[in-house]
């Protein structure tokens, strides 16, 4: 067992640090959360810089341990988060890289890596959330195109996306997992309506997407017709792999800030609060170790994150909520002030046990796939 960097890893880390130190001071200010075009431009601009510096494909081209160093160092340095590039870099990109044809990889991957195109994920539907395979958005073959009708919901970044990784039903007669197909949907195609949805935090992070007889070229299909479920599972395992590693680093920083704030406002004198923060410190240290553990396992198994991702996702999403509950205790009455950043973060943290597979679904996955318990109802 070795937690230290290999010579290659150390060299990568050193180079990255040096580059971040040089480039970050010159970065423009983050746009306001409501400025969608501004956010899109900002996030793409950051990806462009990464690309030009040689870090573009770190999310799926590099070994998992290198990706982890990237996430750790960029977060520590206060670099921008993937933001609107999330789906492109962490879902659609890896899926196309793994399952796409040479032409498809050539068409879609470089613009993702160069920070030119934004992707969103059109999986969930009003009647297909946890039971994703129940999705009903219909795609009918018509010559060299699929004609798609239906609706998607909770589609993050839909308003600013160029492409949508879309799951559609191509064979309504087949068992539900076998009639699904994965399509790359151009978001400017005729027949698409995007209606933003306001989250409980007040912003419009996600949207409803209505599809009315939208024509999608057959050439935009990744994988075989009706094989979309398998293609999708490749994507989802990435989502639960190292996607949150940078956030664990961020949470540890927030903990330190909570201690500073508590000292300032006197609440540090409360041993109950101190111990609560001490426990959270243990929690996030452990989550970082668990990340390293999972990454090492993925590295050994050829890069595919396993069910360990569910263990991490489950634990982390709750820890994050507890962190911001503790922040509320540190803030006291100020925890009701939306101008305190932790107040908004506390609201956002509520999504973590729902998005990317609810906590209940993660429990099911662990029970069935790791513990081999019978499938429940």
């Amino acid at each position: 067992m070795d937690l230290s960097d290999t010579p290659e890893e150390a060299a990568f880390r050193a180079r990255l640090r040096e580059w971040l130190a040089a480039v970050l001071p010159g970065l423009p200010h983050q746009p306001s959360p409501d400025d969608w075009p501004g956010r899109r431009a900002y996030d793409l601009g950051w990806q462009r810089r990464l690309h030009d510096a040689g870090y573009a494909d770190v999310h799926w081209g590099a070994p998992p341990s290198v990706r982890l160093i990237f996430l750790e160092e960029t977060e520590k340095a206060g670099a921008p988060y993937v933001g609107a590039n999330f789906v492109g870099l962490l879902h659609a990109g890896p899926t196309i890289a793994a399952e796409g044809t040479a032409q498809q990889r050539e068409r879609w991957l470089p613009p993702i890596l160069r920070g030119e195109e934004v992707w969103c994920q059109g999986f969930s539907e009003p009647d297909a959330g946890s039971d994703l395979a129940a999705l009903r958005t219909r795609a009918r073959r018509d010559g060299d195109a699929y004609v798609v009708t239906g609706s998607k919901i909770w589609t993050s970044h839909a308003e600013v996306a160029d492409w949508c990784e879309l799951l559609v039903r191509t064979d309504p007669g087949a068992p539900k997992h076998r009639g699904i197909t994965w399509l790359a949907l151009p978001m400017d195609a005729p027949g698409i309506t995007v209606r933003p949805l306001r989250t409980l935090a007040g912003s419009a992070e996600f949207a409803e997407v209505f599809l009315d007889e939208v024509r999608v070229p057959v050439a935009n299909r990744v994988g075989d017709e009706n094989d979309g479920w398998r293609v999708t599972m490749v994507t989802l395992s990435f989502e639960r792999g190292t996607a949150f590693a940078g956030e664990v680093v961020a949470c540890r920083r927030v903990l330190g800030e909570l201690a500073v704030e508590a000292r300032k406002n006197g609440r540090w004198d409360d041993p109950g609060l101190r111990r609560r923060l001490g426990r959270l410190h243990a929690e996030f240290r452990a989550l970082w170790r668990l990340t390293q553990w999972n990454v090492s396992a993925a590295q050994a198994s050829g890069g595919v994150p396993g069910a360990g991702g569910s263990v991490f996702k489950l634990r982390y999403s709750h820890a994050r909520q507890e962190l911001y509950d503790a922040a509320a205790e540190v803030l006291g009455p100020d925890c009701l002030d939306l101008d305190r950043p932790w107040t908004l973060d506390r609201l956002s943290s509520l999504a973590y046990t729902i998005a990317a597979g609810t906590s209940q679904i993660q429990h099911n996955i662990i029970a069935e796939r790791i513990l081999d318990l019978p499938k429940g109802r």
């Binding site: 067992m1 201690a259 243990a282 668990l290 029970a367 790791i370 318990l373």
Partner: protein, 384 residues
């Protein structure tokens, strides 16, 4: 970074698991607990040998420790010279667990009087377990105690990571005895490394296995036996005890907790697959399945924390490991008990033994609050 077990470490763990299965299997555990539950009727030496810790007989119940209920510790606060000579003596005479042999070790620093019958009845720890000296020697032969000593000094020459793996296995099977204290005494107390000397240590207000030890480290003056919650860990209360949290002791206890956490997860899942109600395995009910999944999540998170702490030996990592491992073991054992239903509430099932031992370990080294305080202080000082 390569945060995985090496092949050697994997082999070590397998080897230890097999050796422990031969020496102290589930039957031995149950028999030991059975014996401890039993009343005073056992005969001398019963249960020694293959079946591990056996019934305490009325003659050596570990109950009265001297007429005044105290145990004397001649070596004071772990003074090296005192314990060394004591250890030598014990090394000569305290072999094999024969009662006669032990009685012959008249100069042992911890001299337990024979059970005092009715006089101190209120304090008596009826059925207090005896330490299986043969097992202890076998552990010594295995290298359990000398694991981290340099090879030049007769040790195995391995490190903290390997020690953690071995203690995880010990925790998994609920191996009885003052394992951590004796392991830490190896090299300092003669005979400890080989398992010839049984070493107990004062830890806060408690001493585990005092009556069975040849050497006690720390000041055990005024020790009084208590009726131990854990049938397989006899306990004494000491009045003046202050926790002396050696980080390695904390880590090895955390490793034992990890072993328990993993084991109760397996037991819970096994039972959930096998036990049927309403025409299906109870594990098909989500309420049950999610309890099992929760045990696994806590255990695996604790594993990452414990292993990492073994690699870094950083006190903050060790404190974190302890917090996570205590939680994983205690909550895991409780949920495991819940999954077992009424069977879980019986003496016969091994589940309660895991919970009770986990509770015992939570009291070590100042308890979890000590670790929480340390990590809170670290938050304020370091850049985490």
């Amino acid at each position: 970074m390569r945060f995985r077990l090496t092949d050697d470490q994997r082999a070590l763990r397998e080897g230890v698991r097999e050796a422990l299965a031969r020496r102290f299997d589930a039957d031995a555990l149950r028999a030991a607990a059975e014996g401890a539950a039993g009343a005073e009727g056992g005969t001398e030496g019963e249960g020694m040998g293959r079946r591990g810790v056996g019934a305490g007989s009325s003659g050596n119940g570990g109950g009265g420790a001297g007429g005044d209920g105290t145990v004397r510790s001649e070596n004071g606060a772990g003074g090296a010279s005192g314990s060394a000579s004591a250890g030598e003596r014990a090394g000569v005479s305290g072999v094999g667990g024969e009662r006669a042999g032990r009685a012959g070790a008249g100069g042992r620093p911890v001299r337990l009087a024979e059970a005092d019958g009715g006089a101190a009845g209120a304090r008596r720890t009826a059925g207090s377990p005896r330490l299986d000296r043969a097992l202890w020697r076998a552990l010594g032969d295995l290298g359990f105690f000398a694991l981290r000593m340099p090879e030049a000094e007769g040790g195995v020459g391995l490190g903290l990571v390997e020690a953690v793996l071995v203690f995880e296995e010990a925790g998994r099977v609920l191996l009885p005895g003052p394992l951590v204290a004796t392991h830490l005494a190896a090299g300092a107390v003669p005979g400890a490394a080989t398992g010839e000397t049984v070493v107990a240590a004062v830890d806060g207000g408690l001493v585990e296995w005092l009556a069975e030890a040849d050497v006690v480290r720390g000041d055990a003056t005024g020790a009084v036996p208590l009726r131990s919650l854990d049938p397989l860990t006899p306990l004494h209360r000491v009045p003046a005890g202050r926790p002396a949290p050696d980080p390695v002791a904390i880590l090895l206890s955390a490793a034992e907790q990890l072993g328990t956490a993993v084991r109760v997860g397996e037991l819970a899942a096994q039972h959930a697959r096998a036990r049927e109600q309403f025409g299906r395995p109870v594990g098909a009910f989500q309420a049950v399945a999610h309890l099992c999944a929760g045990i696994l999540v806590r255990a695996e998170t604790a594993r990452a924390a414990v292993y990492a702490a073994a690699v870094t030996a950083d006190p903050a990592d060790i404190a974190a490991a302890r917090i996570l491992a205590d939680e994983a073991a205690v909550r895991g054992a409780r949920d495991c008990l819940q999954v077992h239903g009424g069977m879980g509430f019986t003496w016969e099932s091994e589940v309660h033994l895991h919970l009770k031992r986990a509770w015992v370990r939570t009291q070590r080294a100042g308890g979890v609050t000590q670790s929480e305080d340390l990590l809170a202080a670290a938050l304020a000082s370091e850049t985490v």
